[in-house]
């Protein structure tokens, strides 16, 4: 048994490693139905003439009043303010004993012809006027044909990545390296283990979940994905919103974009910028940072960090009236940099993870002891190995903390780890990924068997203090895209010679 599972796992892994594109699910919809779906859900047709909607003599672009507004993605009808739009799934419309309208009036079953008529003139098959809240649409023959073809399958999902038996989810991973303890590889194994368990238990509402791993943003559009979890980036966010795939990502690098401009990418934690500014806020509250303070931002000279540093610069100027010195730092620059930094300064460290401790040693040699602020999910410093003179001067900020984990959650991880022989490396990141998977599964289950991407997005937006036992509670709404604002500030307790939690605070993001 154990053996078979390992083989299965191996096969999955091989498959993913070899075939870059993996198992591409074809959409269940025909080209015509897809075009009809655009009419239904966006009010956009293929013809040059724009579709218009008329209501009590007023004509507006159909983009303002797409069918989906009132009839929902599944055709069920979205009652609001005393208006009850009908269920317009094909099954409902064509029941041979007819149907009933808002005012209790009966109507006969629809045919394709009478349906066209209803949409363009607002008459039901009996020739009676539909309620005035149902607009009359003017569109080309072709757009109407497409719409009707889609209405015939409305209510049967037809969403990207969903078939009757399967559900495809994308997992965004960091770039693969050649290291024996590759982060990407550790996460991959965790995901595969989790999905395997999930599918063994029946999947999600009898759909088996399949996973598509990727690193490049371009993969978002190339694959038929229903939902995405994993690590985010600005490019990824853009692709996700373009493809309208609801996604749960760990955090963005630059300041998180709110829901208005970023409807589909939900982040668990504050952005790199948000995490860094939390540390600055902490240093201000503790009296380390004041108006005259010299603040230096040391960073690794890579594009993702450069963008963060630029945003930090304007933040400091605006909120603290300080213009920080921004210095890119490679391993050869440490000696020079440590001379430039003053004894009373503050250093925000965004350098490479492996250079932090070297820098501190060099600073100590020069008899400089600035405060060091380290956003822990961007970079790292080994608190146990910092020079003694820095023991009370280094503060690390984390958006999560093991104290969030419940015994059940720990058991869940340990069971997976034992059963699937998960690697010991990158454990914190594995926990993180596990947390995302659990949340994603919960959201999918809340959405129901009838899966719609729009509904998944809306379900995220109704999460309020949702705690999965693995990471801090998550809340989202229409604007909010950072689920947890919490930041844990960690320091070193020299007396006890161990790490201690100094305080928590809310990131100014959101």
């Amino acid at each position: 048994m154990q053996h078979r599972q390992s083989i299965a796992l191996l096969l999955v892994l091989l498959f993913v490693l070899m075939g870059a594109s993996g198992p591409v699910l074809l959409s269940q919809l025909t080209k015509q139905q897809l075009a009809g779906k655009d009419v239904y859900s966006k009010g956009i047709g293929v013809s040059e003439v724009k579709i218009t909607a008329q209501m009590s003599g007023v004509s507006v672009p159909a983009t303002v009043m797409a069918c989906v507004n009132c009839h929902n993605a599944d055709g069920s009808g979205n009652p609001e303010g005393g208006i009850t739009p009908s269920n317009i799934t094909w099954k409902e419309l064509t029941k041979n004993y007819g149907g009933q309208l808002q005012n209790q009036r009966k109507r006969p079953a629809y045919t394709e012809r009478t349906l066209r008529n209803a949409i363009s003139t607002g008459m039901d098959p009996a020739g009676n006027e539909l309620h005035s809240a149902m607009p009359r649409y003017e569109m080309s023959r072709e757009d109407m044909d497409n719409l009707i073809s889609y209405l015939k399958v409305l209510g049967n999902s037809g969403e990207k990545g969903v078939t009757d038996e399967t559900l495809q989810i994308g997992v965004a991973l960091p770039e693969k390296t050649n290291s024996p303890n590759d982060k990407s590889e550790s996460l991959r194994q965790l995901v595969n283990a989790y999905i395997k368990e999930l599918n063994n238990g029946g999947g999600i509402y009898n759909r088996k979940v399949s996973v598509q791993f990727f690193t490049e943003a371009s993969a978002v559009d190339e694959n038929e994905l229903f939902m995405i979890v994993g690590e985010g980036s600005s490019d990824m966010e853009k692709a996700i919103n373009q493809a309208q795939i609801p996604s749960l990502l760990s955090h963005s690098q630059k300041r998180t974009t709110q829901g208005f401009k970023n409807p589909y990418a939900f982040y668990v934690y504050p952005s790199w910028v948000g995490q860094s500014t939390s540390l600055l806020q902490f240093s201000k509250e503790k009296g380390m940072l004041s108006k005259g303070t010299t603040l230096t931002v040391l960073y690794e000279d890579i594009p993702s960090k450069k963008g963060v540093v630029d945003e930090l610069f304007s933040h400091c100027k605006k909120h603290y009236g300080i213009e920080p010195t921004l210095i890119p730092m490679g391993s050869n620059d440490i000696t020079e940099i440590s001379q430039e930094i003053g004894d009373k300064d503050i250093v925000l460290y965004l350098g490479a993870p492996n250079l932090g401790n070297t820098l501190l040693k060099q600073l100590e040699l020069n008899d400089k002891h600035p405060f060091i602020l380290v956003p822990g999910s961007i970079t790292g410093i080994d608190l146990y190995n910092v020079p003694d003179s820095f023991k009370n001067k280094v503060f690390v900020g984390f958006p999560t903390w093991p104290s969030e984990r419940t015994p059940d959650a720990k058991k869940k991880y340990e069971t997976l780890k034992a059963k699937y022989v998960l690697p010991n490396s990158w454990k914190a990141s594995q926990w993180e990924m596990l947390s995302q998977l659990v949340t994603a599964e919960e959201i999918l289950k809340r959405t129901g068997r009838n899966l719609y991407q729009e509904k998944v997005k809306e379900n995220f937006e109704t999460l309020f203090q949702y705690a999965n036992g693995l990471s801090p509670a998550l809340s989202y709404d229409l604007n909010r895209r950072v689920g947890s604002n919490l930041m844990y500030i960690i320091g070193f307790d020299s007396a006890k010679s161990q790490i201690k939690l100094i305080t928590t605070l809310n990131s100014p993001e959101n």
């Binding site: 209501m55 989906v68 822990g376 309020f464 949702y466 705690a467 790490i499």
Partner: protein
């Protein structure tokens, strides 16, 4: 970094646990309960004094701070309530509102009418959301959408009696009325915009408008309520303030006129003396300048003092098109100021008896004519 993470995990696995209870935010279920009475019945109400709303500071769709009272002060107002994530009824309400705007375009452009949309979900509806929402309707008419602090918005909604605790319960209401006026109308915002426009038109006082005044009085329609200014600097509407229910003596003049004008004005002074208490109450003397450029308020005031003009004798000037329009209505419009005549028009507005009297005639003859017009009655 990796190492650090491992150390921390090892240390804190034993740390105390806290788990925040999971509460799915309530949605759906009670959503959209109906308030049909509010929406479908047309009712009137009194808005009361809007000035006493404390500190209702709002933000418009461009992110500018505005005070609600400043927006509506002295204006006819159309007010509706939406939130941008409301899908079924709000887009149709928006479409209706935009159509109403198009129908009322002139009133909006002349700033007599202000059309406001207030978000009932101010926490979600940022200015940029409101702006994007309004732009979908592709209208060019000026339209102000408002959001703000939740408490401020709620204060306003309560004052307007449209507050609902759950935004999903909101009904498609539109309020129409005039700031300071009593009979505000609360009606269905999805109603036919032509009907809404009709209701709105009822709130305009006929004023400075030559065509669309809502009156059925033929004289008022003829003379209109074009706005003029008297020697005291007060604005007066031609029909409503100067003529209605009065006997009027109308003559053209200009202050720099040295020919016939001093004679006419001296005659009018004597007529004023003769009429005594009737002046102002029953009779108005209306001297219209044919030289609005020279005759500003100060000139008229100085001139009126020479002839001891008292209550009820008005020397009128005004904006070019207004004063010319008034002169035209009395047949007194001239190409150049010297071309004006010296005929008094004496009219009983109630009985519609009008006489033309030579303004250079003997004063007693003129007084006799005036008295006969005053004496005219409908019986």
């Amino acid at each position: 970094m990796k190492k650090f993470q491992l150390i921390i995990i090892a240390l804190l696995l034993l740390a105390p646990l806290s788990l925040v209870a999971q509460k799915a935010k309530h949605k759906g279920g009670a959503c959209c309960a109906t308030k049909e009475t509010a929406a479908n019945e047309k009712s009137t109400f009194s808005l009361g004094d809007m000035k006493d709303i404390p500190n209702v500071q709002l933000t418009n769709q461009y992110g500018q701070d505005v005070e609600f009272f400043d927006l509506i002060e002295g204006k006819v107002v159309a007010l509706n309530f939406i939130f941008t994530s409301c899908k079924t009824i709000c887009p149709p309400m928006g479409a209706n509102f935009v159509q109403l705007q198009t129908l009322m375009k002139d009133r909006v452009e002349s700033s007599e009418l202000v059309m406001l949309t207030v978000s009932i979900d101010p926490q979600t509806d940022t200015p940029e959301r409101l702006k994007a929402w309004s732009e979908k309707f592709e209208t060019e008419v000026d339209w102000t959408l408002l959001t703000g602090d939740k408490n401020d918005i709620n204060t306003l909604l309560k004052k307007l009696e449209v507050y609902t605790a759950l935004k999903e319960e909101h009904a498609p209401v539109i309020l129409l009325g005039k700031e300071g006026g009593e009979n505000w109308v609360r009606t269905n915002g999805l109603a036919n915009p032509n009907e809404l426009a009709k209701t709105l038109n009822g709130f305009f006082e006929p004023k400075n408008d030559t065509r669309t005044g809502s009156t059925s009085n033929p004289d008022e329609m003829y003379f209109t309520n074009v706005e003029l200014m008297n020697q005291h600097g007060e604005n007066m509407r031609l029909y409503a303030d100067l003529m209605k229910d009065k006997v009027v003596i109308v003559n053209p003049f200009f202050t720099e006129c040295t020919g016939v004008c001093p004679i006419m004005s001296a005659t009018l002074e004597k007529i004023q003396e003769h009429l005594g208490d009737k002046m102002g109450d029953e009779v108005h003397i209306i001297s219209l300048t044919v030289d609005y450029e020279t005759d500003q308020q100060e000139e008229l005031e100085a001139y009126s003092k020479i002839y001891h003009a008292e209550k009820g004798w008005y020397f009128m000037t005004g904006a070019k098109e207004n004063i010319e329009f008034a002169l035209h209505k009395f047949g007194k419009k001239v190409e150049n100021r010297e071309g004006h005549d010296s005929v008094f028009l004496v009219g009983n507005v109630k009985t519609k008896l009008w006489k033309k009297v030579n303004g250079l005639a003997n004063v007693d003859e003129i007084i006799a004519e005036v008295d006969s017009v005053i004496a005219d009655s409908l019986e």
